[in-house]
Point group: none
Chain length 139, copies 4
Amino acid sequence: MYYCIDTHIEAHTEMFKINPNAALPIYQQIVDQVRRQTASGQLQPGDPLPSVRNLAAEHTINSMTISKAYSQLEGEGLLERQRGKGMVIANSSQLANKKDRLKELEASTQQLALAARQLDLNTQDVVNAVTQQMERTDD
Amino acid sequence: MYYCIDTHIEAHTEMFKINPNAALPIYQQIVDQVRRQTASGQLQPGDPLPSVRNLAAEHTINSMTISKAYSQLEGEGLLERQRGKGMVIANSSQLANKKDRLKELEASTQQLALAARQLDLNTQDVVNAVTQQMERTDD
Amino acid sequence: MYYCIDTHIEAHTEMFKINPNAALPIYQQIVDQVRRQTASGQLQPGDPLPSVRNLAAEHTINSMTISKAYSQLEGEGLLERQRGKGMVIANSSQLANKKDRLKELEASTQQLALAARQLDLNTQDVVNAVTQQMERTDD
Amino acid sequence: MYYCIDTHIEAHTEMFKINPNAALPIYQQIVDQVRRQTASGQLQPGDPLPSVRNLAAEHTINSMTISKAYSQLEGEGLLERQRGKGMVIANSSQLANKKDRLKELEASTQQLALAARQLDLNTQDVVNAVTQQMERTDD
DNA sequence: GTGGTCTAGACCACG
DNA sequence: GTGGTCTAGACCACA
């Protein structure tokens, strides 16, 4: 037996990427991201979520917006409210297998393919663009 | 007596893909698509656009929604109104070079890459998904 | 005991003059008036505009009509939307010099001169009429 | 007795000024102008109007637009259709006294004054602009 | 409270 | 036939 001393310093790469100018509403961006990170296991049962207040400050967003996202996720059973602690990932949350996770990408790939076709860009052009983008976000 | 063989083939693959449930407003989807098809030369100066009523009927959308899109494009100078006839691509509309067209894709690729990372999918997974999607829309 | 003398004077002379029967569409009348008041400095960067609902109620006009005007002005960069707060004159809005402002009058003066000629009224007649009208609106 | 050889060459200063891009519909521009010229005596009972076809060609306007204007004026009793000859000013048409003609200007002067106030231009500015415009149209 | 989007349906201007 | 304007009313996103 030993003590696991957590020397982990919260480098705090932000948990969520928020783009207030995107077409997608902010609250929806949050919902989507929690769903995905839970499906992939990056967020696991019991993991705490940032407090509404912190998240609001961090992204200079209205707290109500975040509250709304959390409430919706709670309604879906994906988050649980722990009195005095805040929101954590629910025990009932489940990992998704790869096929299901790929299915989650579909809306994005369809949209991308449509745009590419209309811009008269071919598969290779798009693959290059996507590859670059993936590498750029390779943390 | 003779056989009247109708060789008329309904070429009319719909000009626009509309998703009424998407986060992006319908009128904006149309605006985007006209912009892209014009940038790539798939729509050229003088080309007529579907009439407001037809497009509305085809997608069971309200005419005002279409009208709003057309008006915005007219305001941008991309469309011209021919009184009593309809809308056509403006003469002043310009082709965009490949670099600019790739830049137009950026929002879509960023969104895709973010989703993929959160779903714990790697570059190869995404490239495969995108390639399949592109091939599926390969007319 | 004291007298509470309400010195609050309803300054609220309506910001816009709307004529629902005019040839010019209502939304265009609003656009024009905001443009002019901004060009002359009567509306300055940061100044708030009446809320869509208030303006609609005040003139018994449909909100969408107002919204259409505001959206167009936002598209032109003359207005900025402050989410949840309302519309304000954009910081980038600029004063116009006198020559430019006189140019803005041209359409109106041309129309007036044409009407006067056809009514066989001479310059002096028109100048008198205009002077009277200006004095009548002299606040 | 002598022969009156008509050496008059149709200098043809156009009878109507048409602006297809104006806010005022074309047919309304025609109606207004006939009304005014009749009120002032510039058009008198029996005077012929340009044929629909000629007027249409001259201004590259659709004949139906002109036809509509003429029909409306005929409905008002201001024009009469003379079989085989075309439209002429009706006998019942009446001159208007100066006061009434000045009243006809009111809409235009009001609009001008409103624009001027909002552009922060004073009476003198407007009078100058109007005077110039009147002199410019002084045929 | 703010503005935005959409609908169904009416009427207008123009060809 | 074309597009444009307007209405009344519903629902959404955000503060």
